[in-house]
Structures are given as structure tokens and as C-alpha cells.
């Protein structure tokens, strides 16, 4: 796929992730809602580490701040910190099997939620660890779809 095509695919993926993030859910479904924006960031960093790195993670974090109506900078910090890990490991991650990448995403989301809760403590918003495991499981469950989609997009180069 041409450079402009990849850029377009990235914009579309971020837009779809934003819309999915905004889909209203209630009750226990709220706990099961993955952080689609973070998953898309992780995906692009794994499969295009030379092009989309910490800067892209920080920009998407800014977008997440505005979507979540969170203090500006919170998700910038979170996405950058979490995005650095797949960036560092991207050389190996592309050779992992899908199952192993799912496991990697599972642990990464747990880490992300911990960091998010610690950041929220700065605003005295109560921490709630009970949902972290469910969110990580839900994120790992939707990861194969994102994984396959990004592999297909990047294979068309």
C-alpha cells in the first residue's frame, strides 16, 4: 500500500476507534468495553514501528483526553508510556503468534489501567481495581480482529 494509503488507513482506524469508544453502554457492559483507541495505537506501533511511534501515541492520547473529557495530558502521558513498550519490543512482536500477542495486549492493558488509576488519584478520583481484569480480557478478546486487520493493511504495501 502506498504511503498515502497507509495514512488514510490510520486515520480511518483512529476514527472508527473513536466512534466505538463513544458507543453508549450501561451497567456491566461498561466494564467490558475495551479502550479501542489504545488498542489501535498498540497495533500501529507493533506493525509500523518505524513510522508510528511515541509521537503518534501522544497525539492519539490527546484525542483520547478530549473524547474522555479527561485532564489534558493524562492520556498523552498514558499512551506514550504504554506505547513505548510495544515500540521497544516491536522487532520481536511481529514474529509472535496471535495468541502470544493477545497475551501481550492483556498484560499491557492491565498496566495501562493501573497507570490511569494512579493518574486519576491526582484528582482524588477513587481508584477501582475491580474492573481492570475484565477490561483487559475484553481488550484481548477484540485484539485478534484489530491484529488481522492491521496485518492485512500492512501486507498490501
Amino acid at each position: 500500500m502506498k504511503q498515502s494509503g497507509v495514512g488514510l488507513a490510520l486515520i480511518i482506524s483512529v476514527f472508527i476507534a473513536s466512534v466505538l469508544q463513544l458507543v453508549p453502554v450501561s451497567g456491566y457492559l461498561l466494564v467490558l468495553k475495551p479502550n479501542f483507541l489504545l488498542l489501535v495505537v498498540i497495533g500501529w506501533i507493533i506493525f509500523r514501528p518505524s513510522q508510528w511511534g511515541i509521537g503518534f501515541a501522544a497525539f492519539t492520547g490527546l484525542l483520547a483526553d478530549l473524547i474522555f473529557r479527561a485532564p489534558i495530558g493524562m492520556h498523552v502521558l498514558l499512551f506514550s508510556a504504554v506505547g513505548a513498550i510495544p515500540l521497544y519490543l516491536s522487532g520481536w512482536l511481529v514474529y509472535f503468534s496471535l495468541i502470544h500477542r493477545c497475551l501481550f495486549v492483556f498484560f499491557l492493558i492491565i498496566l495501562a489501567e493501573f497507570i490511569r488509576n494512579i493518574l486519576l488519584l491526582m484528582w482524588e478520583i477513587p481508584m477501582d481495581y475491580s474492573y481492570i481484569l475484565m477490561t483487559a480480557l475484553a481488550s484481548a478478546a477484540v485484539w485478534p480482529a484489530i491484529d488481522r486487520l492491521l496485518i492485512r493493511v500492512n501486507r498490501k504495501r
Binding site: 473513536s18 469508544q21 463513544l22 453508549p24 461498561l30 473524547i67 489534558i72 482524588e124 477501582d128
Partner: protein, 257 residues
């Protein structure tokens, strides 16, 4: 983050983005609207007739109750006049629809389809059919943002219906739970007590249902008890809400659209 917390430098960016995000909110609610449309199309005629009959009966009951309410309101007015009360409040309402919700678990906000064009103002109370939902915190031309009573940054003055005991109910970031602050361990409060807005602070009108007590935890040695409240309003389920306009001139009730 500190700049965002202590200054309003980012307000123009956030306001611009709130407006820009409206189409995304619309897209995000397409599945829900499609589902509602599908239910309507697929529903059986007999089911609709049964529902129509039930709604007619409910309407009849409510009209009867309103007549009783009108009688009580008139009596209340006479008593207030006798007591030389200086302020007589009557509320009118405007129906609004939820067009988006905050995707964050920690920020309990709603987007509603009324804005400055409908005279919505910051601090305006919002209700659903069951009780108080929250208040408007930002107003735009065509829409507004409302903070729910369950948000951890929100607090509302309340009183117990049974005995008038005053307290403050604050959000816990949990859609099903509020917490009462500074309730003395000797206070007359028990599970099942109904709480209504006390009107103190002037933000929320008096007497709207807020919730009911579900749990009281006594910690030995502590001066205050921990009281958990379940909100009366269907915080994360209600789609149609009421914006309350409080007026001191006794405006007409039922400015509904």
C-alpha cells in the same frame, strides 16, 4: 495536566472539540437507534395494543394523582402565605434527549440535545422520570453537557424525607451508588430511608427524589457513619430527561415539548 486543572486555557479547544465530536456521538448512537427502530418494526400489533392500554391506564392514574397534587399544592401555597414565606417556587420543565455519554468510567457526563437556543443555563437541574439525574455544566448552541450526581466530583445537599435530617450526597464514580458525608453515628437514619433534595445552596430545587439508603456502616471509634445510597434516577439507562426551569414568579408548570 496541572495547567488544565488550575487554569481555563484549554477551554476554547475543549469547546471546539465538543462541537466537532457531535457527528461522532451521532454515529455512536446509530446501533441503539437502529435497535429501537427494529423493535418497533418487529413488535406485534397485539403487543402494541396491550402497551397502549397499559399506558392509558397509567395516564389515568397519574392524572388522578396530579389532581390530588394540585389540591396539596394549593394548600401548601395557602400555608406558606400564612407563614409569610418570601419565596414561592414553581418549576417548569423541558423535555430533552440524551445524544451521547462520556466513554470514561470515571467521568459521568451526558450530552443532551438542548442548548442556549432553548435557554438552557449552567447549573440547571436535570431529572428523569424517577428522580434527580444531575446538572448542566456546559452549554453550547445546539447541545449541552450535564454532570451526573454519581460523578465523583459531584455533591448534592439532601434531606431524609422521614425526619428532615440534612446531609450531602456525593458521587462515587459508580452508577448505582452515592455516599452521604458527615452523618453522625448517632443520627436517626436507617436502611430504606428516602432522600430528597433539600434545596440548600440554591442549585437544586427542593423535594426531588435523590435516592434511598441501602447500607449503613458503623465503624467503631469513628465519629461518622458511612451511608450508601442507591440513586432514584436510572442514571445509566434513561434516554429522555427533563430540564427544570425554576422561577420565582410562579411560572406555568409543564412547559414540556
Amino acid at each position: 495536566m496541572a495547567a488544565h486543572n488550575y487554569t481555563n486555557w484549554f477551554d476554547p479547544i475543549e469547546n471546539f472539540f465538543d462541537n466537532a465530536l457531535l457527528p461522532a456521538h451521532w454515529l455512536a448512537t446509530v446501533p441503539a437507534r437502529f435497535n429501537a427502530w427494529g423493535e418497533l418494526i418487529l413488535s406485534d400489533r397485539s403487543d402494541l395494543e396491550v402497551e397502549n392500554t397499559r399506558l392509558k391506564q397509567e395516564s389515568l392514574i397519574h392524572r388522578g394523582q396530579i389532581q390530588r397534587m394540585a389540591d396539596l399544592a394549593a394548600e401548601n401555597l395557602r400555608l406558606r402565605l400564612l407563614l409569610n414565606a418570601t419565596e414561592l417556587l414553581m418549576d417548569s420543565v423541558l423535555v430533552t434527549e440524551v445524544i451521547g455519554v462520556s466513554p470514561s468510567r470515571n467521568s459521568h457526563t451526558l450530552f443532551i440535545d438542548r442548548g442556549t437556543k432553548d435557554n438552557v443555563y449552567v447549573g440547571q437541574p436535570i431529572l428523569d422520570a424517577e428522580g434527580l439525574m444531575g446538572q448542566v455544566i456546559e452549554v453550547f448552541d445546539e447541545h449541552s453537557v450535564a454532570l451526573l450526581i454519581t460523578d465523583s466530583t459531584h455533591a448534592i445537599p439532601v434531606q431524609i424525607l422521614r425526619n428532615g435530617l440534612r446531609s450531602i450526597a456525593e458521587g462515587t464514580s459508580d452508577y448505582d451508588r452515592l455516599r452521604l458525608r458527615f452523618v453522625s453515628s448517632t443520627a436517626d437514619i436507617k436502611e430504606g430511608d428516602q432522600l430528597v433534595s433539600s434545596g440548600l445552596g440554591g442549585r437544586f430545587p427542593v423535594g426531588y427524589p435523590v435516592g434511598s439508603v441501602i447500607n449503613i456502616e458503623h465503624n467503631s471509634g469513628a465519629s461518622f457513619v458511612e451511608v450508601d445510597i442507591t440513586p432514584a434516577a436510572k442514571i445509566d439507562r434513561s434516554k429522555h430527561l427533563l430540564l427544570v426551569f425554576t422561577s420565582e414568579d410562579g411560572g406555568e408548570v409543564g412547559r414540556s415539548q
